[in-house]
Symmetry: C2
Amino acid sequence: MDNIIAEINCRLNEIVDQYKDGKVKEAMKYSLLAPGKRLRPLMMIQVLRSYQIDYRPYIDIACAIEMIHTYSLIHDDLPGMDNDDLRRGRPTCHKQFDEATAILAGDALLNEAVNVILNVAVEADLKLDIIKALYQASGVNGMIYGQQQDLYFEQRNATLEELKDIHYYKTGQLISVSLVIGSLIANQNDIHIWRTIGFDLGLAFQIQDDVLDVIGDEKKLGKKIGSDAQNHKSTYVTLLGIEESQKYVDELFEKCYENLYSLQINHGLILDLFQKILKRVS
Amino acid sequence: MDNIIAEINCRLNEIVDQYKDGKVKEAMKYSLLAPGKRLRPLMMIQVLRSYQIDYRPYIDIACAIEMIHTYSLIHDDLPGMDNDDLRRGRPTCHKQFDEATAILAGDALLNEAVNVILNVAVEADLKLDIIKALYQASGVNGMIYGQQQDLYFEQRNATLEELKDIHYYKTGQLISVSLVIGSLIANQNDIHIWRTIGFDLGLAFQIQDDVLDVIGDEKKLGKKIGSDAQNHKSTYVTLLGIEESQKYVDELFEKCYENLYSLQINHGLILDLFQKILKRVS
């Protein structure tokens, strides 16, 4: 998958190069091309490949997903939000540039993602469906709601159900829609299965994050560990303990495998992706 | 036009009511329904009416334009940007709520505007053209570039050309695209004329703003006057003086009239709009 990551990075660079010069463009590039796993675009692309579809004509749609993901990171890191100084091992966008530039760079990525999709050569109705799926997932009934709830529960304890709800919106929506967009292009009958896999995967991913915040390696993570405990934040680890949390991650992956094997596709390509997530250290 | 403003406000309210409850939804509603002139949605609607087209099936597109305008106001007012406490006579969004909520409410409005357009019953290709026009105008090569340049020239003097450039992007793009979207729906042959009218109108509007910041009535404006002088900001007034600035506004309107009369439409509906802008005190 490393070749595909290189292709995604190359296209992200070319996309930003079209914009008018200035600090906002620099900041977009800085955050977008920071070393990252490109998990969400890879998910869309691996779904296409698992149906034997050439991903190249659709790579810009994968880039648009990464743009939305990056905008959310830039804004979440702002002093008025989570106030983080480090992201992906480098200063956060507002630390590297300034707050105004970071706000605008985030706005710009959210805004331009739709323009990137508009320029892809796919049939009009499919294009509208893709934009709708993506902007519903990232919107106020999706990812933004998740961030709102995450901030809300910073000041109070959350139950397991409330925590699951936060993750469903904050992480699950964008991960799920990455698979769903692949399925929209490749086989629309399978969308509901991909959606389920996406939300289970998103939850597993987030619980891993909670675990890594306790037992992770700061260097590999590219951010400080122990921040959840320091902030007295409810996490799967504080509510279930490390062992039970890891057991829950395994259960979620089991469910993902089961759903995956119900599909008539090349499973190996998706299993590679699962392994990438299961074994991640950052 | 007051009836149409009431209809726009009613639809804006209904649109936000669909979202999941929370502070972000409240903040969206607070800023979106603050007393405003609704100039941009009115522009789109008056263009449709000037071609004898019923605006009602398209009113949500006009609302989407207002949503993008409001998002830009919320983010521009943030402490990290212009740091304003007062907007439309009321506390700015981050003052009324908090910074995180204001950032998310702005993001949400920018995000949901596209979903609002996606739900309108118009032909797929036209829908794609409308989204493209709007998100190009609001994007990093449009309104966001204007805000970046505006911030840049807060710390240094701008020439008349540089000032014109800021206004072209910061104000002109969204005003112009409001007319262009009307023309996209009503008569695509006239788009270039509406675009020109829009940019001239946008510049006139902005110069008026500079003048009102010197001679305006704080109560009617709903914000403090004299802020440009206090911030040593280059404006048309500091560069040309009040009299020359007002003369320039008149010249721009003359050009708008000329372009307007070259169109085969009901001119009166657009002239009403011009009068609304020419005589504005806020």
